[in-house]
Each structure stands twice: as structure tokens, then as C-alpha cells.
Subunit: 195 residues, 2 copies
């Protein structure tokens, strides 16, 4: 079991996310679940993410964003934005693809995977990528392209680093002393599973 | 239908998140789904979030974090961290509670709701709160309390504002010109549902 993220050291994060065979870029034909067609290149996976994005728009599922998660040359998770069609504001392409990959692989850490997103991830998806311990992300459009088409993730990017009291959202501390009970229970728990 | 987040203006965000009756703090006994027991106060909802956090630890479901989403004095969504028990790195308490509230209310925007989290939200959950258009957040523990118990969300908080090339995650642009196709489809789509 890997440790929780507990440091700002790039070295430590890299250690946390090391794949089992240390070779995440190897792309090869594989059997089993996922999709592997010949020796696929990063461009092939990105084109699949773009295809999912465009198909999502055409099918009315949500915003123009697609994503695939790849493990050792196999697609193990796919996602397209389906916020509006599923009434789920967290159903961004990356989150959908990460959830699918984790379900398939039976794990909550994708440290031996790469993620291909048709657009630079928003802060929610970027943080999800950190929590999933994905070490490598390829992205097509960047946040400026997205902003030019009506998606200003950059607003949220600028809000995140602000102190809680300075944000557009009202954020109010409440019952801090009582809340510590839950953290103390965690610290005292002998058989906890860290993440 | 509300517009996408398209500005860094606090005023605009506040406009986007205005509730239907402009009074989000009114707490009253209500029927229907959700839970309303007398005239509940913010402290009552926070205690429910803390209860969910502690129960999640005791039940081995995941980390020590709980959350409730409240609409006009009713609990409309509950969540406890269940990352490790469901193999879902995005299953933080806030995400679980937001998804439940949206499913119950049949919407992808919770602009007339408040969120109570037993701990200051991590960047993923904070961004999810922005996407859900929740205007008010109460939190118990803060990120320093969490760090003292092994959860350093602050590492991710410090990563988010960095340029993509400076992060602990390798982030590589790829096929930007091809990816723009999806965004152009979105812009040209006449019947799109914005979020």
C-alpha cells in the first residue's frame, strides 16, 4: 500500500507513482480487457480522446471533452463529458475515464497509467489525476482554446490558490474542535487503508 | 439555463449562483425527500457531516471525511469518503454528496444549496463545488488539521497553480490542431446545453 501524498517534493511524488516495471511508455499489442490495436502511439490515443469528445457533442451527452486512460499500451478507461445528460457536475471526461479504469483494474491508484485528454484538464480533473497517482498526462487543446469556446476553467484555476475567505464562494469554518474527532479516529485506526 | 463560468468576476459568479428565492439560509421544517428535523441550524448539518466522517472510518469505507448538501433546510445529499472501499479515487465525501444531491434534484447545478464538509475541501472537491455552482461552504477541520493526520491536500493545492511543465506530473501537449475540431463542433452546435 502506498502512502498518502504527504510532501511537496517532486521526487517523493515520482516515487509514489513509479510503475511496476518502470516503463510506462512501452506500447505493444496486448490481450485481455481494454483495446490494443497493433503498436499504438501516443497520437493514436490522443485521437481516440478527440473522437470521444466530438462524439459526445454530436450525441448531446455534454461538453466537447474526451479522455482515455492507457496502461502499457492498452486503453483501460474511456470517458466523455456527460455533465448535462447525467445530471452530474463531476462527470468530466477525465473523471469518467479514471473511474472506469479503476473499476476495470480493481484499484484506486493508476500509477502505471497515462492519461490522454482532448483538452487541458480543469482543476477538478487535475486534482483527480493527482489522487489517482497518474504520472503522465497528454492534452490536446489548452485552457486558452477552451476559453475561446466558452469554457473558462481559468476562473476556477485562479480561485483555487486564494485563501478561503477571499473566494467567490463563501467559505465559513464551523465546529473545528468537534470535527477533529473524525481525524483522531482515523489516526487511531489500526487497520486503515491509506490512499 | 445558466451560462458557463466565463469570467473571473465575483459579481458574475454570485449572479450565476443566485437561488430562486434569494434566501439560502432559511432553515425550516420541510416534507418531501431529504431530512428535516425541526428548524435545523448550520451546526446541526455540520454535526451530520462529522457523524458521516466518523462512521466512514469506523465502517472501513475510506478516509475520515463526511459531507452533506442542504437545500432550504433539507439534507438533499450525503457522502462519506469511500475511495478505498469502492476503488474510486474521486469518491471523496463532497463529490459523493454532490452527485447524490444532483441525482435527487434532477439537476447539474446546486445554486440554491449549501455544502457542509467535515474538513476543508481538497482542490478536486473545491473545483467540483464551483462546477456545481454551490455558493456557500461550511467546513470543520482545515487543511492543517488534515495534514497533521496524514492528509496533505496542500501538496495538490501547491501543484494546481503551477504551469503544466513545472508540475510533479509530466504534462505534454499533443495534437492541439486536431483537438480543436471538438471545440469547433461545440461552438457550431445549435441545441447545446451549457453548464
Amino acid at each position: 500500500m502506498r502512502e498518502s501524498i504527504q510532501t511537496d517534493s517532486t521526487t517523493k511524488y515520482t516515487q509514489l507513482t513509479k510503475g511496476r516495471d518502470g516503463d510506462r511508455s512501452r506500447l505493444a499489442l496486448r490481450g485481455g480487457f481494454g483495446t490494443a490495436i497493433g503498436a499504438m502511439q501516443p497520437e493514436d490515443f490522443m485521437r481516440e480522446a478527440i473522437r470521444l469528445a466530438s462524439a459526445g457533442v454530436q450525441g448531446g451527452r455534454g461538453g466537447p471533452f474526451g479522455c482515455v486512460v492507457v496502461r502499457r499500451g492498452e486503453v483501460v478507461g474511456r470517458g466523455a463529458n456527460c455533465v448535462t445528460s447525467t445530471n452530474d457536475p463531476t462527470a468530466h471526461a477525465e473523471v469518467v475515464a479514471i473511474r472506469e479504469a479503476c473499476t476495470r483494474l480493481g484499484t484506486f491508484q493508476l500509477s502505471d497509467c497515462e492519461l490522454y485528454a482532448s483538452c487541458e484538464p480543469c482543476p477538478m480533473c487535475l486534482a483527480a489525476i493527482y489522487w489517482a497517482r497518474i504520472p503522465t498526462v497528454y492534452y490536446g487543446n489548452d485552457r486558452r482554446d477552451a476559453a475561446a469556446h466558452g469554457f473558462d476553467d481559468d476562473f476556477i484555476y485562479r480561485q483555487i490558490p486564494l485563501a478561503p475567505g477571499q473566494r467567490a464562494i463563501a467559505m465559513k469554518p464551523l465546529l473545528q474542535d468537534e470535527a477533529r474527532e473524525s481525524l483522531d479516529l482515523w489516526t487511531a485506526k489500526a487497520d486503515k487503508v491509506r490512499y
